[in-house]
Amino acid sequence: MWIVRPARHEDLAGIEKLATAHGARVSTLPQSRDKLSEKIDHSQRSLAGDPALADRERFLFVLEDSDTGRIHGTAGIDARAGNSQPFYNYRRDELIHASHELDVAKRVAVLYPTHELTGKTLLCSFTIDPELRDTEAFELLSRSRLLFIDRHRERFSDDVVVEIQGVQTEEGDAPFWDSLGRHFFHMDFATADYYSGVKTKTFIAELMPPNPIYVTLLSDAAQAAISEPHEAAARTCQLLEREGFRVSQHIDIFDGGPVLEARTDELTSITRRRNKTARRGEGSRGVRYLVANGDSESFRCSLTNVSDGLGDVVRLNTTIADQLGVSDGDDLVLVAL
């Protein structure tokens, strides 16, 4: 049975395996055991409500196969993007260069360096065993975070953003980076990406060009990569779009990948979720639902069949109830798969 729960230190080896084996990049999941360990620690302190972490709470969840105890995926939430540091993006914009005398008006695309997404809630650190990409576990892992946000709404911002991985060649080069960032950072994409995972973001402030960039001066390949998701991210994009996410004006400063954004209270998982009272007993047939129980450290989310009537009570079979830590009378959150 698949279950999503907060990451613990025992998960370190499993998470590290995912972080390093993973072909696609996840800069918020650093490829360093120490940094991963810090990340788990940070998540646990955030869950415990450590007041020292106000405004920089970060949560990390894992997808566990409860039959084997193995970790098959990770998903994270940064309560405030940037974690009290600036969060960098480019914003796509257009200027009109016009001359009345020459009767010309031309649209000029520009990228503005910006911090304006700083402080919004960020979904991040998503990795999953490639074999599970097309299964319901993928959806469970991604959407369970939204149910967590719903259960702890006051900890999160009114807006949620997600950075989608941008275009890369088979060799691992990013055309957007090669045409822009490389000139200023004097390092290849993989190195910059590594640093952004393990270093503070200070180096970005120090090295990023401070002035707007005219898109027309970038290479054709770089221009084509602006706001274009990596092929491997297609499924993630589809899922997020169903949740109500839209492509924003913002892009990643490294690979030019799109930033998706949504209003927290308008996310499908949140508007359609229902609160029910649990009753342990016989399982029901019904249809597939995400079911979440517990708060903070005890948050659990899984998939099960529920025949959801009009009543306030929902029946769960004992196996899943045990996995979710459900006692009779607990408040559950449900949303259809």
């Binding site: 016009a98 390092m187 707007p212 001066l217």
Partner: protein, 349 residues
């Protein structure tokens, strides 16, 4: 004899022929009779004090007195950027450094500026192919510094020249193709022509206002920033010998450099001396090499005249000259003239 004098409407056809022969790249003088005629009219207004001398356009003709023909022109714009907006790029450096990562990156950056506003520009130098020898180019260019030396109050302390940038035989400019053209769908030669017609500031309004990071430009464009056209190299060397230096600015279209100097440091002005004219009946061999000649200016605002004499004519208090030269300069014995070497004496340095 070759004589510098104010340009007038009688020179229109000669000027048109020269402009036509000059081809692409001479922004300030397109072969267009209306425009050239307007320019001449403006110069005439300036010399005749029908406009403020500080706002004047001083255009000088090089006349071949035997042929009675204008064979070259040069000019001074007393102030640029007062009616329209004068644009240049400043080639400056942006440094980004991260101590933590041990990275220190210098990025050449072009900033759009109006820094030359309210400054005097020497411009519009054009010499007919038939007369490119014997120091005629030097006379045509340097006579302007003699003029400025006598009328300093009408010009700014600093004087500059925009040098023609790199373009190929088809009139294509690598910088324009990589930069200007991206913002303004037009060939360089066409944009250049429009500039000459007085539309440069309109085009400039369509150009990018934010700084341009030079590494984002292709190599051929980067290579021509601050570089002059091969045909302009002699003119650049001549100005460098006068004390002009690249000031970090360049043309927004073709990247040609701006060179500048303070007028009191310009060699022709600095080394000039005044002498009283002594009209002499002794024959003088005027046909000596440029190194052995001096320019002689009559110091007249309205009827400025300059020609050259052998250095041997200079005496402690006077300069002697044959009557024909005195007539050409419109001076007589006792008048005070200004003298300066036509060509720097390399061996003396």
């Amino acid at each position: 004899m070759l004589l510098i004098r104010p340009l007038n409407q009688g020179d229109l056809e000669d000027l048109h022929d020269m402009a036509e022969g000059a081809g692409k790249g001479l922004t300030s003088l397109p072969p267009n009779r209306d425009l050239l005629s307007r320019k001449i009219a403006r110069a005439e207004d300036t010399f005749n004090e029908r406009c403020a001398p500080e706002a004047g356009m001083y255009l000088f003709a090089l006349e071949d007195t035997e042929q009675k023909k204008c064979v070259g022109i040069s000019g001074i714009e007393a102030r640029v950027g007062l009616d329209e907006v004068w644009y240049n790029y400043r080639l400056s450096t942006t440094v980004n450094a991260s101590r933590e990562l041990g990275v220190h990156v210098r990025t050449p950056t072009l900033h759009l500026t109006n820094d030359m506003t309210d400054t005097s520009e020497i411009c519009s130098l054009l010499l007919s192919d038939t007369h490119r020898q014997g120091g005629n180019g030097l006379l045509l260019s340097r006579c302007r510094f003699l003029y400025m030396a006598d009328f300093r109050e009408f010009f700014s302390e600093k004087v500059f020249a925009e040098m023609r940038g790199v373009s190929d035989e088809n009139g294509r400019s690598p910088l324009w193709d990589a930069l200007g053209r991206r913002f303004f769908d037009m060939d360089f030669s066409e944009a250049d022509f429009l500039s000459g017609m007085g539309n440069k500031s309109f085009i400039a309004e369509l150009m990018p206002k934010y700084p341009i990071y030079v590494p984002l430009l292709p190599e051929p464009a980067r290579a021509v920033i601050g570089e002059v056209h091969d045909n302009t190299k002699p003119a650049l060397r001549m100005l460098q010998a006068e004390g002009f230096n690249f000031n970090g600015l360049c043309d927004i279209f073709d990247g040609g450099p701006v060179v500048e100097a303070f007028i009191h440091n310009v060699r022709t002005a600095r080394e000039s001396v005044k002498r009283h004219v002594l009209v002499s009946r002794q024959p003088v061999n005027l046909d000596v090499p440029p190194e052995e000649r001096v320019m002689v200016s009559n110091r007249s605002f309205r009827d400025f005249r300059v020609t050259t004499l052998p250095k041997s004519c200079i005496k402690p208090d006077t300069v002697s000259m044959p009557a024909e030269v005195a007539d050409a300069l419109q001076v007589s014995s006792g008048d005070l003239v200004r003298l300066s070497p036509l060509k720097e004496n390399r061996t003396a340095k």
